[in-house]
Amino acid sequence: MRLSLGPLLYPWSREAIEAFYAERVADPVDIVYLGETVCAKRRSLAPDEWLALGRELAAAGKQVVLSTLALVQAGSELSTVRRLCRNGEFLVEANDMGAVRLLAEEGLPFVGGASLNLYNVAALRLLRDRGMVRWLPPLELSRESLGDLLGEARRAGVVLETELFAFGRIPLACSARCFTARHVGRPKDRCAIVCEDYPEGLPMASQEGEPLFTLNGVQTQSGAVQHLLPYGRELADLGVTTLRLSPQPEHLGAVIDRYRAVLDGASDSTDVTAWVSAPVCDGFFRGAPGMAVAPNA
């Protein structure tokens, strides 16, 4: 089982980003996804600087993948995606069908992101035939559906690397509205990137204080941190080839080490509670509401 580091979903400063990735060089992650996927206004690093960072990580032996923006509306956003698809150097993760089309047109291999909504073998085959080499199942898919899908894909000869979002706050939705700017009473057009004040998003709780969601600009994430390491063996048996960990500001190195150790059979302890800032959840995988957590997890 390989480990990947998902794209950074939060708007950190340039210094924080550089420090974060410098630490990852020595971490046992095999694949690193880079780039801005949430909001085109977040520009701590320019596209060329992401490429330069990619070269450093590639030189350290990581497979580098550039991730495209998930919600592409403005012409300027589409131009950015176009340039990224034609970077000429790194594999690209397509996070909307516009990026898929651009990559397929160029005959380039690509990773299909979780927001492409690939729920069945017919959909997988269609994108495999257009250059998809690795894919992420939809974030809500249960173990039962994932097992059906990967089993059927094998029988149909649709063989792809499968990467599952295993650790981190789940990106549940995106909108045209910026919920962070709205929270502080600023119009989106004059947001001054206020989301930079919240390096792990803004927690949103029920009126009883139950953590529910996390506001991250135009993205809404889960309030809890998904953690699927306890199912590591089962995931491998299902045919998952890579587990994705999503960046968080602190303690990610410890989490990565624990994932690696357990997957390698060097440790039995899957507990990460000391290193997360919210409760953990695993409901989607168990076919339950996503926020649920198994009693003994």
């Binding site: 919600l71 073998v121 974030l139 809500e140 789940i170 939705a173 119009p187 529910l212 989607f284």
Partner: protein, 331 residues
């Protein structure tokens, strides 16, 4: 611009046709469509009657098969496509790549529209669906500003349909897991959002509480009007402030934008609300028919009339309407 209207059952379809719909859209009685609600939608028999009724009166019929099949359900989605094609409907409204591929191969003569659930928000995405499946029209997610819709009309390889009125999705359609996260019921796979069976109203000292799978979504004081608890329209706490942190209970109403939308080249306007009532459909379609006719006659003199706006506000969540994402300040 054509007027595309919701039909949750045969009486609603007749009301829509009678009130001046150019097309009606409907779904079958299962999870193959995004309004999979108890008591709603059509079986083979009622769908046959619906098609006959609409076609006799020159109204088109579209069938929404716009959820995403997982392997265990795949044949049900195939059957839905076959059934719709055999009924002689005018178009299929589809989202899943596999279902689009199946429909394009098996029934190439039946027009394919991309559902809003397909989440296409830019010209390259639209080209993907045009090139691969011969999709002729796309319904745009409710996240584009008016300027972006205008630009997309220029660049699009296919006709575009936009939402004109009804419940407002705040998130990009087809990409929202808030209901699945909270209740386990998903718009993408089950065709349900914040489903009624997960809702519980509780009277307490603090007022009326409404819970969705036990999560407190909102609390209403005496005399405060309480809407249906859609997960994105509740009151939550962020940094000690309790408010509608995602969106207020409000409906989209774009009557004011009709000349701009028509001028941009938008092909059709869609009204949301298959889960509503015959009275809702009748009123909403009448207002929109009158407004569209007025706009077509003379777009420069067109103004939304007060009585239209009042009638639509009366049909809206929280009696409020908004221009939504079309209007930049909303974003």
């Amino acid at each position: 611009m054509k007027l595309v209207c919701p039909a949750g059952n045969l009486p609603m379809l007749k009301a829509a046709v009678g009130a001046g719909a150019d097309a009606v859209y409907l779904g079958f009685r299962d999870d193959t469509n995004a309004r999979h609600f108890a008591g709603l939608n059509f079986n083979d028999g009622s769908a046959r009657k619906a098609v006959a009724h609409a076609h006799e009166r020159g109204c088109e019929v579209y069938v929404a098969i716009n959820t995403y099949p997982r392997p265990a359900g795949w044949r049900r989605w195939q059957r839905a496509v076959d059934t719709a094609a055999e009924l002689g409907v005018d178009a299929l409204i589809l989202a899943d790549l596999g279902v689009l591929d199946y429909a394009a191969r098996k029934h190439p003569g039946v027009r394919r529209h991309l559902s809003v659930q397909g989440s296409a928000t830019n010209s390259e995405a639209l080209r993907f669906y045009a090139d691969n499946f011969g999709v002729e029209r796309a319904v745009l997610p409710r996240v584009l500003s008016l300027a972006q819709v205008e630009r997309l009309c220029e660049d699009s390889p296919m006709a575009l349909e936009v939402f004109g009125f009804g419940s407002l999705c705040v998130m990009v359609e087809g990409r929202c897991l808030l209901s699945a996260y909270t209740t386990g019921e998903s718009p993408n796979t089950e065709g349900a959002c914040s489903p009624a069976q997960a809702v519980r109203w509780v009277e307490s000292d603090a007022g009326t509480e409404v819970r969705l799978n036990d999560v407190l979504i909102d609390r209403f004081g005496p005399g405060e009007s309480a809407g249906y608890p859609v997960v994105c329209k509740g009151r939550f706490t962020v940094n000690n402030a309790t408010y509608h942190a995602l969106e207020e209970p409000t409906s989209l109403n774009t009557l004011a934008l009709l000349p701009a939308l028509a001028g941009a080249g938008v092909a059709a306007v869609k009204l949301e609300g298959r889960q509503r009532s015959v009275a809702y459909v009748d009123k909403a379609v009448r207002v929109w028919r009158e407004a569209l006719d007025s706009c077509h006659r003379d777009p420069t003199a067109y103004r939304p009339r007060g009585e239209w706006m009042a009638a639509l506000a009366g049909l809206s969540e929280g009696a409020q309407t908004t221009l939504g994402a079309y209007d930049r300040p909303w974003q």
